[in-house]
Symmetry: C2
Subunit: 308 residues, 2 copies
């Protein structure tokens, strides 16, 4: 938690995000051991830019990105409408976004995002979240993952975990499949300073979420990287990645907004897996681990107490 | 052209579509020679249903679908708003949709759709189109393809080809890539009977478009199936299929509408390739056939006179 007497300003928040990107990339490279991030610096014509870092063909991570950006300019009409602002205003948006596709089907896919948005009229808010998409559901892993998130949330407010876990269930949901993307996690948006939560308190929570990412994912990388698997598990992973593509391109609001508003396509689509497969009306064998996974990907599961 | 004194009714149109599905499946199976279509009959809870036919692991076609459906029920508010109808009405919608993903990168992907829609208040319209997505641009093939379509169009009206070719350029466009999906073709929608075009005349055009599909695609199957290719061409095909996925899930209005309105997911997503790949910021070698393809996928190309 950064200690300031005045509320954290956009420079302070931006600086936290660039440092977070650095720390996460260093932790992932060290744990992966097989490849390094490549960096692309880019500028946005209308203002600002980003630092896109991509790792491909690692020992554990097959393809993944850890992205920082800070962009600004006149707020679009859509943004103004959403925030009930009638006059012309400028916006400033910064954040870190991560998607990692592991090589092994036994290692889960992970996503994290932390972001800050402010308008020149003084309105500002934070958003963020972490969610986990195992190719094979492991209820002990899901419990451990949710326990880490609950610990982070509980440090900031006793209601955060329950609220933001439910929000993730609703957000990371493939309506056309009646399936959640994975075992969920936490998700929150439009967290504005209020009487109850100061800007500093919300920023402190966002910092904790960001800092939780590397320890959580490197745990799964180490624990699962050497688990055995065969061709059948690999095929299942490719089908599950197809579902990941479906979620991101059909339902994810961030992706949709980015692609429709002339965002940097290669950065936005870093979330795409290196390979994904589709088979018509594929049904896993009754009683198989694949079927168990499918049946388990539902909203409202209490992953902290998965056996009831 | 079916000769009737009264305008063709929905039974007549539906019957044409089921027959068209049969004829196309027979032609594709005969030309492929390696696999047969599997059929799924399905019913829609709210009314109607469909006959989904999928061919997987053929000699030429790796994965493809030829779908017929005829569904009905109360029109959604979105449909009523679109058609400026304020009172509650029922709708009836029927059509044939095709997407074929060939095994060889030297054979193009193809899409065709013909459809009819009517409301219980008497409003009715047709839509349809055919477009071709080669993995490798071949200007002679593109010219031949567009010449076939122009011949079909010209039999019905001298303006149809120019109008519907431009409509396809606009529709089959990946805005986030500034790339067309392929070499386009023809696309049209909301073709209602008018003083200029009777319902019978529009239906005759739709029949011609549907009947043109099998001769066009079996020509490419036969001509290109044995062309040599290597691993590099296969990898390029998989990246181009990634773009096909992006178009269908991000921009295609039919896919979006189906997935958001509780359509039959497995039928809608028959358009997905068996496998698709993504690589971060992939740039083809300068002067390569891959680069030539990318540079060629633009709106407004006169494919009938590709050299100007």
């Amino acid at each position: 938690m950064i200690s300031t007497e005045t509320p954290p300003d956009k420079q302070t928040i931006t600086q936290f995000f660039t440092g977070l990107q650095d720390r996460i990339c260093a932790a992932l490279e060290e744990t992966d051991g097989g490849a390094r991030f490549q960096e692309d610096l880019w500028e946005r014509a209308e203002g600002g830019g980003g630092r896109t870092r991509i790792l491909q063909e690692g020992a554990v991570i097959e393809k993944g990105g850890v992205l920082f950006s800070a962009v600004h300019g006149p707020a679009s009409e859509a943004t103004r409408r959403q925030m009930n602002v009638t006059e012309p205003v400028d916006f400033y948006a910064t954040g870190v976004s991560i998607v990692l596709h592991p090589r092994s089907p036994m290692v889960p896919i992970i996503h994290m995002n932390v972001r800050y948005f402010e308008l020149s009229n003084g309105i500002n808010w934070f958003g963020g979240g972490i969610d986990l998409t195992p190719h094979y559901l492991d209820r002990q892993d899901a419990r451990w993952f949710h326990q880490q998130l609950k610990t982070v949330c509980d440090r900031h407010h006793p209601d955060f975990y329950a609220k933001h876990k439910a929000w993730a269930d609703d957000y990371f949901y493939l309506k056309h499949r009646d399936e959640t993307r994975g075992v969920g996690g936490i998700f929150f948006d439009y967290q504005k300073p209020s009487e109850e939560f100061s800007k500093e308190a919300i920023f402190a929570y966002v910092q904790s979420v960001g800092d939780a990412f590397a320890p959580i994912y490197t745990h799964f990388m180490r624990q699962n990287r050497d688990l055995p698997f065969g061709e059948a598990e690999k095929q299942w992973q490719l089908l599950r990645r197809g579902r990941y593509v479906e979620f991101n391109l059909v339902w994810d609001r961030g992706t949709k907004f980015g692609l429709e508003s002339n965002g940097r396509t290669e950065s936005i689509l870093m979330s795409m897996p290196p390979q994904a497969n589709w088979a018509y009306d594929y049904k896993p064998q009754p009683g198989s681990r694949e079927e168990e996974t499918l049946l388990g990907l539902k909203k409202g599961v209490d992953w902290l107490n998965p056996l009831g």
